[in-house]
């Protein structure tokens, strides 16, 4: 174990961890947006939207995220979409995560008893009011934990952008493994930082989950 080397290079890993966190936050925001839109489409009364929502989920969950990133980043310029690697990473991973979140959000909404909606209508609330004031608050509580699982996967999936040369944690580890031939030490540095990020996120989700539960 070469601790001197680890001490020398760790500042670069810390900086890279910052990029990983930024990537994760932006991807999570885009993923939640896509997930909410996707769930709305899948629950729509219009068959066109339902079909589009189902196709979105099926295609983006049915193909590797890495290939989706490559199509966007390397293939994008051919159809007039020119993005730098970081932008392509956020957009590609965000749309991918959105497909998984669509199912999470939809699952939570449809698990709310139908009687709730009927009761809201009976009390004179409109369809929209009933959803917004009665169904959604209850569904939101059920979503926190599974969305936390999605978030955990998403953070680990940010490693994929190393393949399009975004200088984040995995890319940094890969580069130092290549130049120092010390795979174990570099894995340890990057691994510890990933686990801190994952652990902190998990605690945050657990806190939020406790916060939204009714005793």
């Amino acid at each position: 174990m070469d601790f001197d080397l680890m001490l020398r290079v760790y500042p670069f890993f810390i900086e890279a961890a910052g990029t990983t966190i930024l990537l994760s936050v932006l991807t999570a925001i885009l993923g939640l947006t896509c997930g909410a839109l996707g769930a709305a489409a899948r629950l729509s009364r219009l068959v066109v939207f339902r079909f589009l929502g189902a196709a979105y989920v099926s295609v983006f969950r049915g193909t590797p995220a890495l290939i989706q990133l490559f199509i966007l980043y390397f293939g994008g310029p051919q159809i007039g979409i020119q993005l730098d690697a970081f932008e392509a990473g956020v957009i590609g991973l965000g749309i991918n995560a959105g497909a998984y979140m669509t199912e999470t959000i939809r699952g939570a909404i449809i698990s709310i008893d139908k009687g709730q909606r009927e009761a809201a209508r009976t009390l004179g609330l409109s369809q929209f009011q009933g959803f917004y004031k009665v169904i959604l608050p209850q569904a939101a509580r059920l979503m926190v934990r599974p969305l936390g699982v999605n978030l955990n996967m998403l953070i680990k999936a940010t490693a994929l952008v190393a393949a399009i040369s975004v200088i984040e944690l995995t890319y940094t580890a890969q580069r130092y493994i290549g130049s120092t031939y010390k795979p174990f030490e570099m894995f340890l540095l990057a691994g510890i930082l990933y686990m801190i990020i994952i652990y902190a996120t998990g605690r945050g989700v657990a806190w939020l989950d406790r916060k939204v539960q009714i005793n």
Binding site: I67, I71, F74, K156, P183, Y194, Y199
Partner: protein, 218 residues
């Protein structure tokens, strides 16, 4: 530059060969992750404390770090300790171990939820503890987690694209080879995506059939 799908037929054989590699790697890694998952579950639940605790730590590390990083560790780490495996073997080991840990989590929960009476009954009819586990408890536990393990196998197919990064000529890297010759990334990555999607649909179909058979067998 625009799109031109007429370049595809000339390179279809390369991509199809890559497709076969992807299927082979997925099947091999899936088998490793299935039996590895059972073995890991038994170690995590029944091994002596001195083995069990470090083992759980390793499992925790595997679940808390990205697969891509683990692949780099395994591929370059094995070389460093003098084991020079072909990239595809390193890829199968990396994918297999990664998903074995996830399967192990599922199987552990399932083993614990098998009724205690099953173990007691097996012991009463004269089976040793190991035999009872192997012949009575584990088969029931595994049956219960076949559907979520199926989901892990489908995730494994998609994550097999990552082994292209350590130089395994599977579907993704084959598409990259064709792109290197034609400068047509959009067309060939889309083709690769289509192949992955079809394999994925086949796996989902098999999964549904197996689930139906399990439902009937109960």
């Amino acid at each position: 530059m625009g799109l031109d799908f007429t370049v595809i037929p000339g390179y279809l054989d390369i991509v199809l060969l890559g497709c076969l590699w992807t299927i082979g790697i997925t099947v091999a890694a899936a088998l490793l992750s299935f039996f590895g998952g059972i073995a890991f579950a038994v170690v995590a639940l029944y091994a002596p404390w001195i083995i069990r605790q470090p083992f759980r730590l390793v499992e925790w590390v595997f679940m808390g770090t990205p697969l891509l990083l683990q692949l780099f560790l395994i591929y370059f780490g094995l070389v460093q300790i003098g084991i020079d495996l072909p990239a595809f073997v390193a890829g199968i080991i990396g994918l297999g171990l990664h998903f074995a840990v996830y399967n192990s989590e599922l199987i552990q929960t399932a083993i614990l939820s098998v009724d205690k009476g099953q173990m007691e009954a097996a012991r009463t009819v004269g089976l040793s503890r190991g035999q009872a586990l192997r012949k009575v408890v584990i088969p029931q536990a595994v049956r219960d987690v076949i559907p979520p393990i199926g989901n892990n196998m489908i995730a494994l197919l998609k994550d097999s694209a990552l082994v292209s990064v350590i130089g395994v000529s599977e579907l993704t890297l084959s598409a990259q080879r064709a792109i290197g010759a034609t400068y047509r990334p959009f067309e060939f990555y889309l083709l690769a995506a289509a192949f992955y999607y079809v394999i994925n649909l086949c796996m989902e179909w098999v999964q549904r059939r197996i689930e139906r058979r399990i439902a009937i067998s109960r």
